[in-house]
C-alpha cells in the first residue's frame, strides 16, 4: 500500500507554521491563536500515524443470479489498529452495463480485534462470468493525517445467467437414436402416433389388430405406429468476432437461443451437447438431465469472444462430442466464412443440420440511396447463402430483433419440412 499525507495534514502544518511565524515575527499572538487548531491537528495526526495491517475478504451472497437480479457483496475487514477504512469494489469491466456509474466506496470505522462487515448492493446487468473480488481500499489514520491506498485481489466469481425464453415445441429431428424419447421416428414399431396398416403376421399382438379395417375385409389387419425416440442435439455456437457489429449483443442472442433449446430438449429426455467454434474450439459432450443443463450454462457463460484470423475448419471431433446421426443446430450471424464452411462440413459428414441466423441490426437507417442500395446487396447475398444451404438440406431461419424465438423455431421447423426431401438423403 502506498502512503500519502492527507490534504488536511499538509494544510494544517503549512498554515500553522505560517501563522506561528507571522505571530512571532509581528508580535501578534492573536494570529497564533487562530491557527492553534491546525497545529493541534498536525501534532495529533503526526503522532498517531501507525502502520495498519488490513485484511479484506470478499464474499458474494449468491454465486448465480439471473440478469436484472439483485445480490450483495460482503466485505469482511480486519485490522490491527483503529482506523477509518474506505472500501470500493472494482468488479470486472464486463459486469456493468455501458455508461453505468462505478460502485461507491463505503467508509467505516474498523477497530482492532473487531472485524467489520460492509455490504454492497449489486445489480447484475450483463450476463456472463464476472470476477467481483477486486477491492480498492483506503485506510485513513487517526485524525485523517495519513492515508494508505491499496488494492485487494480476490477471485470471487459471479455467474449471471441470461433470461431464457420458454419454448413450447421441440425442433423435430430427422434422425433419432434407438432410445425411447419424445420424437416420432419414421420407422414403425410400438408407439402412439399412427403410421400405417399391414396384414397380420405371426407374432403380432392381438391388441394391434385394427378391427375397423378387419371388418371391411376378410383378413386381419394391424396398425403400425411410429415409435417415440430420443435424439442427440448438438448446439454449434459461433464465437468468431466480426468487427463492425455489436458482438456482445449478437452473441448474447445466440446464447439465449442455445439455452432455451438446451432446456427444452433436455426436458424431453434428449441428449444435448455444445460445440463452441470460434477463437477457441471447446465442447461439452452430450448428456441428459439438470446437471447437463448446468454444465452447458457454465460453458456458455465462460465463453470468451476473441478476434482470430487463423484459417480454421471444424475439426474431426470424437463421437462422444459429435455423435453420428446427431441433430446439429447452428446459432450464428453467418458473418464468418469459417463458420459457414463448418456448417456445410457438418452436413457433408451426414449430420442433420439446421441454422438459426442471429441477424445483425442494420447499421444505418438508409437515409441515402447508397446506403439503401448497400442494404439491398447485403440482403441479396444473405438470400443466396440461405439458398445454397437449402440446396444441401440445411434450413435457415432468421432471428431479428423484432421476432420471438418461438416464432423463429416454428418457422425453422416448417422450412425443414420443405427441405426434408434433400435432408433425408
Amino acid at each position: 500500500m502506498k502512503r500519502t499525507a492527507h490534504d488536511r495534514l499538509i494544510f494544517g502544518v503549512g498554515i500553522g507554521v505560517l501563522g506561528a511565524i507571522v505571530a512571532v515575527v509581528g508580535g501578534l499572538p492573536e494570529v497564533a491563536l487562530v491557527v492553534v487548531p491546525w497545529i493541534v491537528l498536525g501534532a495529533l495526526a503526526y503522532g498517531r500515524s501507525t502502520k495498519p495491517l488490513v485484511r479484506v475478504q470478499a464474499q458474494l451472497a449468491d454465486d448465480r443470479v439471473m440478469v436484472g437480479d439483485d445480490t450483495q457483496l460482503h466485505l469482511h475487514i480486519r485490522t490491527d489498529a483503529q482506523v477509518l477504512v474506505s472500501a470500493q469494489p472494482k468488479p470486472a469491466a464486463s459486469f456493468a452495463a455501458d455508461g453505468a456509474e462505478p460502485l461507491p466506496a463505503t467508509v467505516d470505522v474498523v477497530r482492532a480485534g473487531s472485524p467489520s462487515e460492509m455490504v454492497v448492493d449489486l445489480t447484475a446487468d450483463e450476463w456472463g462470468t464476472h470476477n467481483m473480488g477486486n477491492v480498492v481500499v483506503n485506510v485513513t489514520s487517526a485524525f485523517g493525517g495519513f492515508r494508505w491506498t491499496g488494492a485487494g485481489e480476490n477471485r470471487t466469481m459471479l455467474r449471471v445467467h441470461p433470461t431464457t425464453q420458454e419454448l413450447r415445441d421441440l425442433l423435430p429431428p430427422w434422425l433419432v437414436r434407438r432410445v425411447s424419447g419424445t420424437h416420432t421416428s419414421r420407422s414403425s414399431a410400438r408407439g402412439v402416433e399412427y403410421a400405417d396398416l399391414r396384414e397380420f403376421s405371426a407374432g403380432d399382438s392381438v391388441r394391434d389388430i385394427n378391427w375397423r379395417a378387419t371388418a371391411r375385409s376378410n383378413d386381419l389387419w394391424v396398425s403400425q405406429r411410429h415409435p417415440d425416440r430420443a435424439t442427440d442435439v448438438v448446439l454449434l455456437l459461433d464465437s468468431f468476432v466480426e468487427s463492425g457489429h455489436d458482438v456482445r449483443t449478437i452473441f448474447g442472442r445466440a446464447m439465449e437461443a442455445a439455452l432455451a433449446l438446451a432446456e427444452n430438449h433436455l426436458g424431453a429426455t434428449d441428449r444435448v451437447g455444445l460445440i463452441e467454434f470460434g477463437g477457441l474450439i471447446r465442447w461439452v459432450d452430450p448428456g441428459i438431465g439438470r446437471v447437463q443443463l448446468h454444465k452447458l450454462t457454465d460453458a456458455l457463460l465462460a465463453t470468451g469472444l476473441y478476434a482470430n484470423a487463423a484459417d480454421k475448419s471444424l475439426p474431426m471431433l470424437s463421437p462422444r462430442a459429435l455423435p453420428a446421426r446427431s441433430f446439429v443446430v447452428a446459432l450464428s450471424p453467418l458473418l464468418d466464412q469459417r463458420f459457414v464452411d463448418a456448417i456445410f462440413l457438418a452436413r457433408a459428414r451426414g449430420h442433420d443440420v439446421a441454422v438459426v441466423e442471429c441477424a445483425v441490426a442494420p447499421t444505418s437507417d438508409h437515409a441515402t440511396p447508397a446506403s439503401a442500395l448497400a442494404q439491398r446487396v447485403w440482403d441479396a447475398e444473405r438470400a443466396v447463402l440461405r439458398g445454397q444451404m437449402a440446396e444441401q438440406g440445411i434450413a435457415v431461419s432468421t432471428w431479428s430483433q423484432d421476432r420471438e424465438l418461438a416464432v423463429v423455431l416454428h418457422e425453422l421447423a416448417r422450412l425443414r419440412r420443405r427441405v426434408a426431401g434433400i435432408g433425408a438423403r
Binding site: M1, K2, R3, A5, D7, R8, I10, F11, V13, I15, V17, L18, G19, A20, I21, V22, A23, V24, V25, G26, G27, L28, P29, E30, V31, A32, L33, V34, V35, V36, P37, W38, V40, L41, G42, L44, Y46, K51, L53, V54, R55, V56, L84, S86, E101, P104, A105, T106, V107, D108, V109, V139, A142, F143, G144, F146, W148, G150, A151, G152
Partner: protein, 180 residues
C-alpha cells in the same frame, strides 16, 4: 442518498464560513472596511470552490481569513484573544465539514459509526484548542503578550517542529502498510 448528504454537508460548511465571517466583521475593532471586504471575498471564494468541488483549492480561502486577522491585529491596540480562538475553531470546523462534504459528493457512503468517529476527532481537536487558548490567556497575565523572549522560544519550537515534519513527509513509502 450520498449526493444529497454531500449537498447538505456543503451547505453546512458554507453556513459555518458565513458564521466565521460574520463574527470577524461584527467584532472588528480596527479596519472594519478592510475586514468586511476580505470576509466577503472569503465567503464567495469558499462558496465557489465548494460548488466546483476542489478539495485542494478549498484551503486557499483560509489565506483571506489569516490576512484579515493579521491586518486587524496590526492596526488594533486592544486585540481580543477569545475572539481569535473562536474564529480559529469555527474556521477549522468549517474546513473539516467541507472536506467531508466533498468526499460524500464523490460517492463515498459513510456509516454512522464512521461519521461519529470523525465528529469525535474534530471535537477532540476543538477541545484541545480551547485548552491551549485558556493556557495562553492565563500565561498572558504572567508575561507580556509580545515579549522578545517569548517570540524567540516560540520561533525556535516552530522551526524544530517544521523540520521534523518535513523529514517525515519527505521520507516517502518507508511507512508501508500491507493489505491481504
Amino acid at each position: 442518498m450520498t449526493l444529497r448528504s454531500g449537498i447538505l454537508a456543503s451547505a453546512l460548511s458554507l453556513l459555518l464560513v458565513i458564521a466565521t465571517a460574520s463574527l470577524m466583521v461584527a467584532s472588528a475593532t480596527a479596519l472594519p472596511r478592510v475586514v468586511r471586504i476580505l470576509m466577503v471575498v472569503t465567503v464567495v471564494s469558499h462558496g465557489l470552490l465548494i460548488f466546483v468541488g476542489s478539495a485542494r483549492l478549498i484551503v486557499s480561502s483560509s489565506i483571506f481569513v489569516l490576512l484579515a486577522v493579521t491586518l486587524e491585529s496590526l492596526a488594533s491596540s486592544d486585540p481580543s484573544w477569545v475572539r481569535s480562538i473562536a474564529v480559529g475553531v469555527l474556521w477549522y470546523v468549517a474546513m473539516e465539514v467541507s472536506w467531508h462534504a466533498l468526499e460524500r459528493r464523490e460517492g463515498a457512503i459513510y456509516t454512522r459509526a464512521a461519521v461519529a468517529h470523525r465528529v469525535q476527532e474534530v471535537a477532540l481537536v476543538v477541545g484541545l484548542t480551547l485548552v491551549v487558548g485558556l493556557v495562553a490567556i492565563a500565561a498572558a497575565t504572567v508575561a507580556p503578550g509580545r515579549s522578545v523572549a517569548l517570540q524567540a522560544v516560540v520561533l525556535g519550537a516552530v522551526l524544530a517542529v517544521l523540520g521534523a515534519v518535513a523529514r517525515q513527509l519527505t521520507r516517502g513509502d518507508d511507512n508501508k502498510a500491507s493489505i491481504t
